[in-house]
């Protein structure tokens, strides 16, 4: 494949295609529904000799992440992919990866956490990992997942960043649905990704370094502070890498995506595929003259609070749709971040809190329409304080 061309691909296949083109030095992965297709496709690329990758078919996700840590510290470009319980099993090592400043890129196919066991989409897996020090990018479609996995390599490996990145897409809804995906030329991706240059690879045996020392009250805090400092550069770096990516692909990405929000009075905030559904509803309502819009925090970690506050503060009412529970009794995880982002603003929209779609429960246009109509009521003065569980049988 040497030319750009359109291919019918599922979200999972699109990601494995991106991985083939990136041709990482090491991939260590373990299968889990609905991520499995990524690993299967990639294994085929390996055994067909299409990549230079050393593939490590580990015996667990804990070992997948551990092997990525070893490979990345050794000086290799390392990738894995997972979902749900697999991500949960990696938890401990997610922190090790981020804290050792290892630029591992990991596509995640969002799936509910047990119990009860459920293979379908919600965001409880990656939301639980949101404070692990990883950069998190969310994607609406297969195209976005493909593009952002490629961009993520550059973000992760940027000398000011050196942090791991998760690129999330919705289980089944995106991962298993066939879409038109514009695949870039292999050469273009290769050139864009470039060569990894890690500052302190273990395999540079002439210059031995110690990774992961015992670090107590006299230094640990400074190291965490440095990690926060790296995070503070993520926005500027992402902006410039997205610009560069636009040059090779013609596709424009932003840390915060909006849809028809400029003159909107009310808006919905949501992640991933739900944004696609909501766009249709917005279009329909706009035709009826309603001033509605959408906001999609593509980058959820670090959280672009200022930009989001800027975009939402002028609205009269906003509904935050979380596809996971915190069990804090106060609503979903994104809600808390949106609310605190707006706290400093003088004018703030009224915020409605929704939890929806747990365990893959369908979210349909009628429900989104219902949310917009709730927002309309609130704009007129109706008070709604409680968290609304959208689409649940009470």
């Amino acid at each position: 494949m040497t030319k750009n061309f359109i291919k019918p691909l599922t979200g999972a296949s699109a990601v494995s295609e991106a991985m083939r083109q990136i041709d990482p030095d090491v991939v260590a992965a373990y299968p889990i529904t609905p991520q499995t297709e990524i690993v299967m496709k990639f294994s085929q690329f390996v055994n067909d000799g299409k990549v230079n990758t050393e593939f490590v078919p580990v015996e667990s996700e804990h070992s997948a992440m551990s092997a990525c840590v070893g490979a990345s510290a050794a000086g290799a470009r390392a990738m894995t992919a997972t979902a749900s319980a697999g991500l949960a099993l990696m938890w401990e090592i997610l922190y090790v990866a981020a804290s050792n400043r290892l630029p591992i890129v990991m596509p995640v196919v969002n799936r509910a956490l047990s119990a009860p066991i459920n293979i379908h989409c919600d965001h409880s897996d990656t939301m639980g990992a949101r404070d692990s020090g990883w950069i998190q990018i969310y994607c609406e479609s297969a195209q976005e997942a493909y593009d952002n996995v490629i961009a993520a390599v550059r973000i992760a490996e940027h000398e000011k960043i050196l942090l791991p990145v998760m690129v999330c897409q919705d289980g089944f809804i995106t991962s298993h649905a066939m879409e038109r995906v514009d695949i870039l030329e292999d050469e273009k991706v290769k050139k864009f990704a470039g060569e990894l240059k890690l500052p302190f690879p273990l395999l540079d045996t002439d210059n031995p370094v110690t990774y992961g020392p015992l670090d107590l009250f006299d230094y640990y805090f400074e190291h965490k502070r440095q990690q926060s400092e790296a995070i503070s550069h993520v926005f500027e770096v992402t902006d410039s890498i997205y610009k560069e990516f636009e040059k090779i692909s013609g596709r424009k990405y932003n840390r915060v995506e909006t849809y028809k929000i400029k003159d909107a009075e009310t808006a919905i905030v949501a992640l991933n595929s739900t944004i696609g559904t909501a766009k249709d509803v917005v279009d329909a309502l706009r035709e009826k003259g309603e001033k509605v819009g959408l906001l999609f925090p593509r980058m959820f970690r670090p959280f672009p609070a200022e930009e989001i506050a800027e975009k939402l503060s002028g609205l009269s009412a906003v509904a935050v749709l979380d596809r996971s529970e915190t069990f804090s009794g106060t609503g979903g995880p994104m809600l808390a971040d949106i609310k605190s982002a707006l706290y400093e603003k003088e004018s703030r929209p009224t915020i409605l809190k929704y939890i929806y779609g747990l365990g893959g429960r369908e979210i349909n246009p009628a429900q989104i329409e219902q949310v917009f109509s709730d927002l309309k009521e609130v704009k007129k003065g109706k008070k709604v304080e409680q968290v609304v569980y959208l689409g649940v049988r009470e």
Binding site: E54, S63, G75, T205, T210
Partner: protein, 317 residues
């Protein structure tokens, strides 16, 4: 290539002095001896535990060779990643030189919490050496029982009490578990038999594919013995056959040291040197010492049978 004994002292020191392990600790001796087994540069991965914690207190490090600690249960899978990186970069021509990879774990990090990662790495056939320094308990967290703790031993989670006299179970046979993976090389060693140990290390580094070394590592505060006894206590463990020295090379079992006549000691001699077994000298617990002796004898017999059964000379010794 297996090293010649004359070459051992020429190997540059890879674990320096100035670490903060207890005086008389066996672990750094084990690590240093094993690291003498190759002239090639070595990348070390180390599980959480005494050796890791006490050699890398930031901003100092005692390691003069590339080193990574990630977590407690993943030394083998971290090493698998390093090895995969090495293979990949070498194949792409980005690295030219020969580099060895050594994964280290304590008995807790190997027999227990890290067993799955170890098994996976052995099964996949990574080209690396795994070293377990076996001090028979979780020493770093204050002497808790592990799957390697000897029967009768008092630890903080298997204390000698009024009703239960220390750990009830015999240790699992890690060396045999590793051998069951049919990897090229597995061996058990002790610091008292340094030539035997370094030779085994050099074989382990020389083979293509995974190799495992399980080495007894005395711990004065955990075993409760004087801190100048690490070597002697290893020696008596070997001569009482509670810690036999043997290797499994391409499926062939071989006892590398057989104590004879006056050298042979009863396990009681070994037990009596250590405070962790003090309660066993009570009359009502004496049967435990006998059971341990029997366990050691049976284990030795089994080793001899394995040696015979797998010998290339067709079973004569």
């Amino acid at each position: 290539m297996k090293l010649n004994i004359k070459e051992f002292p020429k190997i540059p020191e890879r674990l320096g002095s100035g670490h903060r392990l207890c005086s008389g600790c066996g672990a750094p001796i084990v690590a240093k001896m094993v690291l003498m087994g190759t002239k090639d540069p070595v990348v070390v991965t180390n599980a959480t535990g005494c050796l890791e914690v006490a050699t890398t207190i930031f901003p100092y490090t005692a390691w003069k060779t590339p080193f990574i600690h990630s977590a407690f249960e993943n030394s083998a899978s971290t090493a698998a990643g390093v090895e995969a990186a090495y293979q990949s970069l070498k194949r792409q021509g980005k690295i030219k030189r020969e580099i060895k990879i050594l994964a280290i774990g304590g008995d807790g990090g190997t027999y227990d919490i890290g067993l799955q990662a170890l098994s996976g790495a052995l099964e996949r056939g990574h080209d690396f050496v795994y070293l377990c320094y076996d001090n028979g308990a979780y020493m770093n967290t204050g002497v808790q029982r592990s799957g390697s703790t000897p029967r009768g031993s008092s630890t903080t989670t298997s204390p000698a009490g009024e009703a239960v006299p220390g750990k009830q179970q015999f240790p699992k046979d890690l060396t045999a578990i590793c051998a069951a993976h049919k990897i090229p090389y597995v061996a058990q060693g002790a610091i008292s038999n340094w030539k035997d140990l370094i030779t085994k290390a050099s074989k382990a580094f020389a083979v293509k594919g995974p190799a495992v070394l399980n080495v007894l590592s005395p711990c004065p505060p955990g075993w409760k013995h004087a801190d100048d006894l690490a070597v002697e206590i290893s020696d008596i463990a070997v001569n009482s056959k509670i810690w036999p020295l043997y290797e499994i090379e391409n499926g062939q079992w071989r006892i590398t040291y057989k104590p004879r006549d006056k050298k042979i000691r009863p396990v009681e001699d070994w037990i009596k040197m250590q405070g962790r077994f003090r309660h066993l000298t009570k009359k009502e617990n004496h049967h435990i010492i006998e059971e341990i002796q029997q366990w050691a004898d049976e284990n030795w017999d089994r080793l001899e049978r394995m040696e015979k059964a797998t010998s290339s000379e067709g079973g004569s010794e």
